[in-house]
């Protein structure tokens, strides 16, 4: 369950961004995760509130964008969308492919409150 360690890494960076922008609260953290990142999005979602408790990210929602695995064939140049354990060219069947997309593990953006709003 390395998702806990990954949540801690996300939190550390999110708190850094929040501080840079003098934000009091973080509303949303958008992540992009590919099937070949080795990270389970549902486990991240479950673990994040545990690590974020008591911080400016405690009410933040994790928005997770998933990506398809896409490869480019090194022999015939065809681009294919493939499953994570069969990276084969759809046109010629070759395994000599380059990964175009699918191993992303990135913090894309955040939505911040720069100060406590007065609209209670």
């Amino acid at each position: 369950m390395h998702e806990l360690a990954i949540c801690q890494a996300i939190l550390a960076q999110a708190l850094g961004v929040a501080e840079t922008h003098r934000a009091s609260r973080v509303k949303r953290i958008t992540l992009r995760i590919g099937p070949l990142a080795g990270v389970e999005p549902s486990l991240l979602g479950a673990a994040f509130p545990l690590v974020a408790a008591g911080t400016s990210c405690e009410a933040a929602r994790l928005r997770i964008e998933t990506v398809a695995v896409r490869v480019e064939c090194q022999l015939c140049g065809t681009e294919s969308e493939v499953s994570p354990n069969r990276l084969l060219c759809r046109a010629c069947g070759s395994w000599r492919v380059a990964l175009l997309e699918g191993d992303e593990m990135r913090i894309e953006s955040m939505e911040l409150f720069e100060s406590e709003p007065a609209n209670v």
Partner: protein, 253 residues
């Protein structure tokens, strides 16, 4: 419906310490950074240490019991007098593996991770400063036995070697694509047991491995009988030679 205030759109606001925070007050900030940015930076720092010392660093990964420590013992014995080897050992508990490495004749640093299922670059950094890197030719990092978590964490290594023992089944690359995609060398281990196991087919394992788009070499090794050890040490010697910067050539020359 929002559970707190009862309004119809719970997604456009949050309740924090009695205040209602609306979405329109939020500001979008583009971040575009790797989730493991801090680990990656630490890993680059580790690699700089290794490169400055001219040491080849190999991260050894597999499921528990695939024979990582046995392979290391056999490797240390096979390269004795030619290359100086040291090992960073990662385990949840015990110093057992480090003791085996020392008995085989190499320096070993044990990292006990407690409940952590993988090594990270910070743990490796703490360990590398206890080693005389300039006197080492190849440093192995024996990762925690696990085919999932270690694949996500760069430690600063130059090469990943993934072991797959014949007792595990030849479909492991298909089941754990992230780990096997990371391999720079696939080592089929415990080949002396192939006959006893019966249904492990090396070619099938290789096919699953290739289907991940990985063109890395595969070796069949029995650390116990010595089969395949010459090819394995040959690969290590070539990788070590290729890594060695001119300015770091030392007493060996």
């Amino acid at each position: 419906m929002c559970d707190v205030c009862g309004c119809v759109n719970p997604s456009d606001h949050v309740h924090v310490a009695g205040a209602i925070l609306h979405s329109q007050t939020g500001r979008q900030i583009e971040v575009m950074q790797a989730m493991l940015h801090d680990n990656d930076r630490q890993a680059d720092h580790n690699r700089a240490h290794f490169d400055a010392a001219g040491v080849l660093v190999v991260n050894l990964m597999s499921s528990p019991g695939a024979g990582k420590t046995s392979l290391l013992e056999a490797t240390i014995r096979a390269l004795k007098g030619r290359l100086t080897i040291a090992v960073i050992e990662g385990d949840l508990e015990t110093e057992n593996d480090a003791r085996r490495i020392r008995d085989a004749g190499a320096a070993a640093v044990q990292i006990t991770t407690g409940n952590a299922c993988h090594l990270d670059a910070t743990m490796v950094h703490a360990a590398l400063h206890t080693l005389a890197l300039r006197e080492i030719d190849i440093l192995f990092i024996e990762n925690v036995g696990n085919l999932v978590c270690p694949a996500s964490f760069d430690l600063g290594q130059h090469r990943n070697v993934v072991l797959l023992s014949v007792t595990e089944g030849d479909d492991k690359p298909e089941k754990y694509p992230v780990m096997f995609r990371a391999a720079d060398l696939l080592a089929i281990s415990k080949t002396d047991l192939t006959e006893a196991v019966g249904d492990f087919q090396t070619l099938r394992a290789l096919r699953h491995f290739r289907h991940l788009g990985n063109a890395a070499p595969m070796l069949e090794i029995s650390a116990r009988k010595g089969d395949g050890m010459a090819a394995w040490t040959g690969w290590l010697l070539a990788e070590h030679e290729a890594r060695r910067p001119a300015q770091a050539k030392h007493a060996h020359d």
